[in-house]
Amino acid sequence: MPAPDRRRVCIGALALLTATRAVAAFGFDELMTLLSQRKSGEARFSEERAVSGLDQPLRYTGTMSFKAPDRLERQTLTPRRESFIVDGNQLTLQRGERVRYLTLDSVPELAAMVTALRGTLSGDGSALRHHFKATVDGAAARWTLTLVPLDLRLLGVVRLLRIDGMQSDVRVVELQLADGDRSVTTIEPLAPKARSATP
């Protein structure tokens, strides 16, 4: 009976085709694999915040650096110097002359926000999924990762984070707060030699 056989072959081929398409598609796991190849990086950033009630947006610029697995540094240079350094569970904040040291896990909202950045930069999918509902759009060449907090308390403050990137570079981090305020940070990678991933 040739007809059923042919049908079976057709279905089989179709299934095979969908399967390969699925493998080739760019999803959360693929993005994480891509991101995890990068071990360190440095960048310039500029941030613009739109805050309701203020006459004009707030603007900040400075540098950021990351070193796998868990060191993240943000140095604000204008309008005033300020630094924010996370290393493991330790957070160091410096503004002017004043320094503060915090343990991250005692301030869970902060821990979640740090995870959003650090997890994305290091491609730590399980850490991201622990705190956020993550969805990925686009392809490796240009992707968007959307993170929505799982913790209701945090969700009361942060509506979502949207991170745009190209290959293993993070380019834009957009933070939407529950009260409608918004912050968009544009990131310009520096010193390509610092990358260890394939170009």
Partner: protein
């Protein structure tokens, strides 16, 4: 009573005895029995240590329970933690319930916010200059548009310079337990953690016990299946040990009495003799309890526990009397007691005096618990001896006639006295070897930990350490104490100390510290801050300049100008004004008035984790140099040094006591060779017991020392009796039997105590049981310097 020795005099003795018993009973009926652990904490010598002991006794630590919920799923634990905290917060027994949910602190937040211009460390003249205002507003704005902005935005117009933020920042140590879903959890995520403080004082154990019951009941109503409550902390330990001491004391007294009763019954084969033997013991206990109550105002539960050990020595007197006063063939009836009073009583009396000498050293101990023990023992022994001397002859003028195992005991004792002297040289060699061993091991001979006095089990301590590490960053035990005559002086000094500690926080050695001046600045500082606040017109003008071209228009900041004006006229914060405010419990923990009237502020310090933090104590010491009124201490180290101080003092007292014993015997014996002969077995018994402990790697503590003192006290009876017998020419089997029986009862009762689960009691038992046995054997070994004694058969 058919027999009345000394006719009327005997009845006078009995009547005075009964009157004394009745008096004792009345005193005891009005006695307060306490069980707080701090009775075994020394009455500290210097101000800092007094503050520490005060703090341990009545400070916040004595009222704090550390609580963990274990088992089940994280969500279950979180729900149970919230429900439990809600329930406990509604209960008036709890002053404070912490579980990481700070929504309960809204009241404190409001209190602080209303007083922010008096409390903020940032308020000074520069802060309210144009430049200062611009910087402060920029700092506050930089939080907007971030998740932290949610806290700042609602109060932006009233507090644009972020003073509330600054106060919160300085108050939060930055450490603290791990938090998840708004509640505290352990770092490994397996436990939900809570902390409570009771209203009741830590020393009010009945209230603390009730608090624990309330806690458990509350947990039972909120817990879902699979969840389990773990509780630790000073009140829990105190309540548990009281229960343990009570149960053990009862059990020990009961089994001790039964065993000893059995032994006496077998030996005397007479119920009457048994009852007579218990008379001095019971009298001694009544006298002991009543005396301690009169001298100290209350009796510690542990004193009663130790006091049961007295049965061992007091029963000896009865045994000596009952056996030695036995009428001999040819004696007139009812005259045995006369012979006993003539022949044996001087020796027994000397034994009592030597024991008193030993315990006198304890009575002057810096440890209230040990002092009680000393007074208890002295009063008890005197009462027991007097009862034996004056009351027993009335009831049992001829001792006891029952034979039971007396003959066998006598034969056994005679055999020992015949045999042991033969191995005397071996014993001497063993004694010298013990001494050499002790000298070799002298470094590790003594304990240095106060915890050796604590009846808390190792398991409970491990749980406590774990919860402390999680909840209190493991280092709430480092503190700075600042003292002064009046409150304002202390507050000003705390401000000076705070400035120096701030530098250590900036350098990262400290995560933070607590200080009373965050909530109650000195009046001088409040005035300085108030003076820095400009009037409305000036402030408005400066604000206009500071915000020009910025994101925030000055026109929006009218509420700020108004708040500053209010603060200029607000009354200062005083210790009195704190009463009844949400901040009061916090203030009470950080500013204490010690019993001698000095005010002491405590600044608990949180070290940074890792090696940076390890250098913190030294850095604090350095930072405080030059401020005499402020001292940093580590609670653990301090207790250790206190303990060392007291073990040294106790050693000195024990030596003094021993010297007193020797002096007494010297006065009595009036012969150096006899004195040496009497002292030698005691010294060797002590050395060998100590060497055995050293060989078993058990360091000796203060309570072991008490045990050694008891060995000397009890042993001196044996060695004096044997010495007396030797000089009588020939010892009789009855006296020997009485010694052996007395020894057996001691070894038995202390052997029982050695098995106690209360480490302190066990320590005494483990020293006395073998030590007393050695003392008798060695006394026998050295009793006959020239060949075996001819033992006269009765």
């Amino acid at each position: 009573m058919t027999l009345r020795p000394g006719s009327g005099r005997g009845w006078v003795a009995v009547l005075s005895w009964l009157a004394a018993l009745a008096l004792g009973a009345i005193v005891i009926a009005h006695t307060r029995f306490s069980a707080d652990l701090t009775a075994f904490l020394p009455a500290a010598p210097d101000a800092r240590q007094r503050a520490l002991v005060e703090q341990l006794k009545s400070g916040i630590a004595a009222r704090t329970l550390l609580i963990a919920i274990r088992g089940g799923e994280p969500a279950q634990r979180a729900a149970a933690s919230r429900a439990l905290a809600d329930r406990l917060r509604a209960d008036p027994a709890f002053e404070q319930v912490l579980n990481g949910d700070f929504s309960a602190f809204a009241a404190i937040g409001r209190w602080v916010f209303d007083r922010r211009y008096l409390l903020s460390p940032a308020v000074d003249a520069r802060r309210f200059s144009v430049e200062g205002l611009r910087e402060a507003i920029d700092d506050t704005l930089s939080l907007l548009g971030t998740p932290a902005g949610a806290l700042v935005k609602p109060v932006l117009e009233r507090d644009p310079t972020g003073e509330a933020q600054r106060i919160a920042e300085s108050a939060l140590s930055g450490g603290g337990p791990r938090t998840q879903d708004g509640i505290w959890i352990s770092r490994d995520g397996q436990l939900a953690l809570l902390m409570t403080q009771s209203h009741a004082e830590g020393s009010d154990l009945d209230a603390q016990a009730q608090t624990l019951v309330t806690l458990r009941a509350a947990f039972a109503t909120v817990a879902t299946s699979g969840l389990d409550l773990q509780v630790s902390g000073a009140p829990k330990f105190a309540v548990d040990s009281r229960a343990q001491i009570q149960a053990e004391t009862r059990a020990l007294a009961l089994t001790g009495t039964v065993l000893m009763g059995g032994l006496l019954l077998i030996t005397f084969a007479s119920l009457r003799a048994l009852a007579a033997a218990m008379v001095p013991v019971a009298t001694g206990i009544v006298a002991g309890v009543a005396s301690v109550s009169l001298v100290f105002g209350s009796v510690h539960g542990a004193t009663l526990g130790f006091g049961t050990t007295l049965i061992g020595e007091a029963v000896d007197y009865a045994i000596y009397y009952l056996i030695q006063a036995r009428g001999r063939t040819g004696d007139a009836p009812a005259q045995g007691w006369r012979r006993w009073v003539q022949q044996s009583w001087p020796t027994v009396r000397l034994g009592v005096l030597t024991s008193i000498c030993g315990f006198l050293a304890l009575a002057f101990s810096g440890f209230p618990g040990l002092a009680q023990l000393g007074v208890f023992s002295i009063a008890g022994l005197i009462a027991a001896a007097l009862t034996t001397r004056h009351v027993l002859p009335v009831f049992m003028p001829d001792g006891t006639r029952g034979m039971g195992l007396r003959r066998q005991l006598g034969h056994g004792a005679a055999w020992l006295v015949r045999t042991l002297p033969r191995v005397r040289h071996g014993i001497t060699a063993l004694g010298i070897a013990s001494l050499a061993f002790l000298l070799w091991r002298h470094d590790t001979l003594w304990q240095t930990e106060l915890s050796s006095l604590s009846p808390v089990s190792g398991e409970a301590l491990a749980l406590d350490t774990r919860l402390r590490d999680e909840l209190l960053a493991g280092d709430e035990r480092t503190m700075v104490a600042v003292s002064g005559h009046d409150v304002q002086e202390v507050l000003q000094r705390v401000e000076v100390v705070s400035a120096r500690l701030d530098a250590l926080v900036q350098s990262g050695q400290l995560l933070g510290y607590e200080a009373i001046t965050r909530w109650l600045p000195s009046l001088a500082t409040q005035q300085r801050r108030r003076d820095a606040l400009p009037d409305a017109a000036t402030l408005s003008a400066r604000l206009g300049e500071a915000t020009a071209g910025g994101s925030l228009r000055a026109a929006r900041l009218a509420p700020f100008v108004q708040a500053v004006q209010q603060a200029r006229d607000a009354p200062p914060i005083t210790p009195e004004s704190l009463a009844g405010t949400p901040i009061a419990p916090l203030a009470a923990a950080l500013l204490v008035r010690s019993s001698d009237g000095t005010n002491i502020a405590l600044l608990p310090v949180v070290r940074a984790p890792g090696p940076v933090g390890d250098s913190a104590p030294a850095a604090i010491g350095q930072a405080l140099r030059g401020i005499d009124a402020a001292q940093a201490f580590n609670v653990g180290d301090e207790l250790r040094s206190l303990y060392l101080h007291y073990i040294r003092e106790a050693q000195g007292q024990a030596l003094l006591g021993a010297a007193g014993v020797v002096l007494l015997m010297a006065l009595w014996l009036r012969s150096l060779p006899r004195l040496l002969a009497v002292c030698k077995p005691l010294l060797l018994a002590v050395l060998m017991t100590m060497a055995a402990f050293a060989a078993a790697d058990v360091p000796l503590g203060i309570l072991h020392l008490v045990g050694l003192l008891l060995v000397v006290a009890v042993g001196s009876n044996y060695s004096l009796f044997l010495d007396w017998l030797r000089h009588q020419g020939a010892p009789d089997e009855d006296t020997l039997a009485s010694l052996l029986l007395a020894n057996l009862t001691i070894v038995l009762s202390f052997g029982l105590i050695a098995a106690s689960a209360i480490p302190a009691l066990a320590a005494i038992g483990r020293v006395v049981a073998p030590g007393a046995m050695l003392a008798l054997l060695l006394s026998a070994a050295y009793a006959a310097p020239t060949g075996p004694l001819a033992v006269r058969s009765s």
